[in-house]
Symmetry: D2
Subunit: 383 residues, 4 copies
């Protein structure tokens, strides 16, 4: 099977080539430097595993197949960056592939697929200023038409990868509703006020606070139709959300491999750690949690492959997977004791990344809130 082969090659590449880079000093608090990204991608390109989920003919693997590949890419926190399956690029490529015009695909999508351009998705806004945090209906960034251009103004926050990105997708409100624009970056009208220091550290460019100040965009750079912005956000939403689950599944699986090896090798109180039920039970719980996470990912991928939006399903998967992976990562830290809270292995980083994952792409509570609404709607329909 095609996807399985791709995944196997990605896994081998990540384990053999990428893992040794995990201690590279160019990995910082805001992810690897762009120099390191380029170096990794050169190797991925040479190994034939760059952007592995998009085939040479431009077609995209199914979600179920993508899961196989993205889980493999996630086995190192550096893996997705190296093979170009990382957020937000993966979701942006998906969206441009679905909605972009031919020109946009040539001008913006192509360099992304070739791993030569990183991108950013300018949607979330500072809650503290009344903007849209997890609640998109509160969007305050505006797009006003001015002849053959649009003028965009607003504030955005937690814009992953903005620093260093070459392509931006900007969401704003017009009189027709929400709309999106694709723009070249950097642009002086899109000012990075600061890169926010956060508990996670795998994403190149980090997460930025941004001011958009009279950004002028030619009308033909509007993505799709005016007023359809929320619909396009929906198109991107579920697959992008699920791809987070896939990548972090890989990272957590690797953390569990490290913790298991540790528990087998180290002794305390007269026997290997794993022979202590207190440790062995944690690893058994990990085995179960990882299996359940995998099954949820595959199930949700199958749903998305039927071409429905899958909003509820991806909410269920996001909650279940992020919380399960977090429990796994936390147990890995605990099993390894002092070594677990040190940076001597990637377990400590995976724990921090997955902590953030419980909030990124909608905190657990927001998803439960929307699921409760759905349960109520469904109950109203049943006799």
């Amino acid at each position: 099977m095609k996807a399985a082969e791709i995944a196997a090659r990605v896994e081998a590449f990540v384990r053999d080539v990428v893992v040794p880079y995990e201690k590279d000093p160019r990995c910082g608090a805001h992810g690897p430097t762009d120099e390191l990204v380029a170096e990794l991608r050169d190797k991925a390109r040479a190994a034939g595993v760059l952007t592995p989920h998009i085939l040479a003919d431009g077609s995209h693997l199914s979600q179920r197949e993508t899961a196989t590949v993205l889980k493999a890419s996630g086995l190192s926190p550096l893996g997705p960056v190296a093979v170009n399956t990382m957020a937000p690029d993966e979701g942006n490529m998906y969206l441009l592939g679905k909605v972009g015009s031919l020109e946009m695909k040539e001008r913006f999508l192509k360099p992304m697929v070739e791993g030569r351009a990183r991108s950013a998705f300018f949607m979330t806004e500072p809650a503290g200023e009344g903007g849209a945090g997890s609640d998109p209906s509160m969007m305050q960034t505006t797009a006003v038409q001015d002849g053959n251009h649009w003028v965009v103004n607003g504030r955005k926050t937690f814009i992953t990868g903005a620093k260093g990105a070459k392509v931006g997708i900007v969401m704003a409100k017009s009189t027709a509703g929400a709309c999106m624009f694709v723009v070249d970056l950097p642009d002086p009208a899109i000012r990075i006020d600061r890169v926010i220091d956060t508990i996670d550290s795998s994403m190149p460019g980090g997460h930025s606070m941004v001011t958009i100040d009279n950004l002028r965009v030619p009308a033909d750079q509007m993505l799709g139709a005016n007023g359809e912005g929320f619909n396009y956000a929906q198109v991107r939403l579920s697959p992008a959300r699920l791809s987070h689950c896939m990548r972090w599944f890989g990272a957590t699986k690797r953390a569990n491999e490290i913790a298991t090896a540790y528990a087998v090798k180290r002794h305390a109180f007269g026997k290997p750690l794993i022979d202590h039920e207190g440790v062995g039970f944690m690893l058994a719980d990990n085995l179960i949690d990882l299996k359940q996470a995998e099954l949820m990912i595959d199930w949700c991928a199958d749903v998305l492959d039927t071409d429905v939006l899958g909003t509820a399903e991806s909410s269920m998967a996001k909650v279940a997977v992020s919380e399960a992976l977090y429990r796994v990562a936390d147990r890995c830290v605990q099993v390894m004791g002092g070594t677990g809270v040190s940076t001597d292995t990637i377990v400590e980083q995976v724990f921090r990344e997955v902590r953030a994952f419980r909030i990124y792409d909608g905190p657990t509570e927001v998803h439960k809130w929307s699921l409760a609404k759905k349960i109520k709607r469904d109950a109203a329909k049943s006799p």
Copy 2:
């Protein structure tokens, strides 16, 4: 698809015909009376849903198909009894179908499949007397050959359905190892010392403490080969364990339907319960837990359908499913407040049943213990 149709008919039968019997006074602390069982089975037979997982030609649905049917049968605590998919009969029929001689199938299996005979599986022994609780290696019941007969002596406990059973499978230790016998019941040499009162109450005959006192069994009633008893126990083990997951999945799903309907209808503090996040989030958690339980059941069924023993997989499924269903049942009780702890709905019973399920067929801790051993073995194999 065949199984889906069978399941749909079973579901309709359980919802329409069985559910109204849930308040029948013949449902007691040790399950429905045999009179009630017979009445329900007459109706199931008439509706063509008796023993629905075994086809007219004697063939057995695959595990994956069985899951569909058994989940449907479990929608009422009386459902499995009514359609003859309950424990321990379901597992005993499976074992006799796999290992029994033609004569045994005709004499013992046939009346069971026809829903005219209940059965019991005499394996577990009183831990307090040094016998095999969750640890089969401690088995103390003996089988000694005496000419063309075997003489069996020992003590058994938690023998589900022993009271009222017409067929018994008795496990004992011979010099060759463990062996099993199929016997007619009742037999004066198999004395029911008492039926143990327990927190659950769905299984006809309850769970008995039994003394086997010089039981003489003709040699041709030994099931399969002498010394193979543990292997046959393994054959029965995983499918039987998984069938518990299937049935109780159905029961818990129904409890969740009841709790959801309650939360939509009842008001407190100015709005429907479900509009309180404290309640809505619990129902969202239920949705997720039920989905995960279902996925684990299907995954494990697929593994068993490849004809492996699936010991580790069924341990994983048993732990994950029993604990998930318990959380769901507990939340259902909590959502319904005073009504939840009353017997006005089956939610209270389902909660009690699923509490016991965390112990029956191996407590969660025993499964984690054996999974930890497996993790250690697997780690030793990897480079």
Copy 3:
């Protein structure tokens, strides 16, 4: 110290005299029969431990002292009934002692303190009929003045101990607000529609659904002032809520003693259960949870002894203690395996009782809801 001596005598009485009655067939689904209650109380009276928290001069122990005594009385599910510290009598005696007129004390309180009369508190109403479940503002029972009498009409539910009670305190709404009446029972105008079957089974008389149909009460049987009903409910509320914590603490402590003894004695997989970390850790968690529960009870008792209402503190204690005791009881069941879900020990009953406790006197979620409101109010006050 006085209270410590009383508690020691109560503990000795419960362990030596009451515990053997736990298997008495007169203990049913709705608690012990009134015959058994009388028999136990005769023994308590003879041992000088009847109503031990109210001294011979009519004075009441402080809440902190009461904790010591009530925890001891709770060591058996029959203990509080035996020594007359049970709900709702304990709270009703407290309320009558605080608010009752001299005549009321002589006529109603005296026989209760002497253990000759049980009582009931008619407050909660059927949520399904729009009445007050956990939300007292929804009260629908009315009291209308008619000359020198009041006429009361309404429906009440979950009225603990109503069946068999000789004294009733009835809460209703008048034009002045809420009010309370003290009445003799039984009264044909207070009709017990049914005793609700519930998961718990320790309270004599069970919990009843009641119709009050033109109950005529002489005006001098109004408890305290008209319109003050909610205030009196508040006076009773926190101490009564805390006394639940005290009694069930005792029951759970005993369950833990039983589970610990079991874990020390029984063997599995080659060693005593307690030497398995999977079991030992559960008992360690119990040790910690019980200590925390005890500290919360003592802290809240100290607060109440300063004569404040302590609504938030008793909410905190109720949530923390009921949830902690539940975890403990659940672990006791799990440690004991099959024996844990059987009625062979009281562990199974304690588990069921404490499950109900998470709902009785306000479900956990209602308390958290009111605590969240308080946190918001307090935050508004801080600079």
Copy 4:
């Protein structure tokens, strides 16, 4: 009351003077620089709050009083460093005060109390090399007498504050058992191989991996008697363990203040966050968890003040408090969403610190293991 006054002054100092330093760039991954430490301590000295738990006459507050003061000092992650109540100095001062000779007190303790010297406690060893991780019986560092000196050799790890310390207490094994030495630092024979990067970042000097290579110590620098090392470790153990609980209680309390203020101010989906039960319930849980943590600290302090070792009690407190504070910190992060995982407030740091706390001073599992042993011993004693 004395201690309450001291605590109030410490709290005011921390809130007014220390908190503004939290954004100081001299706070790094291995705690504040020694320059910053000196600056903070100058201010503490001027404010009369330096080493506030040791009075001018050299006497030490009781543990219960110490709790009041140390909780106040912990309100900022920089607070304990600023007022000299931090680990490991606090425990080292305690031990020297209890066991040190007059000369040692003058030479080593005095500068520590005056806040002019930091110290380190060289006990834990690299588990990976077979040394003592959480299991002190595995200690491999040796002390061999050589005339009037001792020669010490070994490897130590996770030695907090070693870098920059002026005083060291070194634990080793002699033929008489374990013993301790007090030495000046730095010493070329105590080589800091590396400072381990860890998830926490509040402790000056970080945690070091150390090689002790032919360290020669004059015999009169042996602390107390030869062979008594484990006993002295016990003397230091429980108070030091509890002081961690105190300080981190303060930090977590402050995190909860920040999260509460956030939840009151920020809006989502049409109302303040705190009015969403999903958020309000988390804050209610925090209120309860913080109260329980405080009660456990006070209870354990009371036990220690009776002059017992309190090993079991401090294990119970350590497990209960570290796990409770972790739940609180995790909820604070979650309540604050994106802001919670950013370093914009100290919530993110507190979360990381408290994560490590579940491992430092004995992982939760090691404490449960030793509590299980104690439960077994106690059970053997009871009839």
